[in-house]
């Protein structure tokens, strides 16, 4: 079974802090993704990566950055947290190009910015 692990289920931070959300997958997947989920808006793609040290902007990258130094780990960074970044953050992974396989999700991190 694919396992996508997010480091925290709940996190509370203050405005202006630098926040790191970590995601690790154990299936040697090439692709990794970060989403945020808000009521009425569904899941929106923030950043994704098709390989180590590669990153691509999703639909809502402003205020975020990512790091992928190792294949199994994909980090989301909030450079200077703001209250409008309070949300549920979901990480996902999938096999690489050419494989018609679904994305598998972690349990999510519910982040509150005070």
């Amino acid at each position: 079974d694919v396992k996508v692990t997010q480091s925290s289920r709940y996190l509370v931070k203050r405005t202006g802090e630098k926040v790191f959300l970590e995601c690790v997958q154990d299936m040697d997947h090439e692709n990794m993704f970060w989403y945020r989920q808000d009521p009425g808006l569904g899941l929106r793609l923030i950043y994704f990566s098709y390989d180590v040290k590669m990153k691509e902007k999703g639909d809502i990258p402003e205020g975020y950055s990512v790091s992928r130094e190792k294949k199994e780990r994909f980090s989301l960074i909030l450079e200077s947290a703001s209250t409008n970044q309070t949300s549920m953050y979901l990480c996902a992974s999938s096999l690489g190009h050419g494989y018609r396989q679904p994305q598998h999700f972690g349990d999510g991190t519910r982040l509150s910015i005070l």
Partner: protein, 113 residues
Amino acid sequence: EDKVVQSPLSLVVHEGDTVTLNCSYEVTNFRSLLWYKQEKKAPTFLFMLTSSGIEKKSGRLSSILDKKELFSILNITATQTGDSAIYLCAVEEIYNQGGKLIFGQGTELSVKP
């Protein structure tokens, strides 16, 4: 602009009822359509559909895709309280070296005893 629209946004039924959830899309470089179920935690994968008219089935759940009319339906027969969840529809768009998902808003299903 590419988009995925689900309806209804919420639904309340009683155990034993049959429900149909709808998903329509406008996506330029379509690769596949996926359904996920989300309870309290991670969305869990239900179906991936790539061809029109071929029904995918798993127990009481089934789904079909119409690529001409650009929609999919998810059917749940003989609903149970354990079916209560948010059902997410996503379209995979071909993008550079792979694909990326565009999600609908989700349908929140509540099954009452």
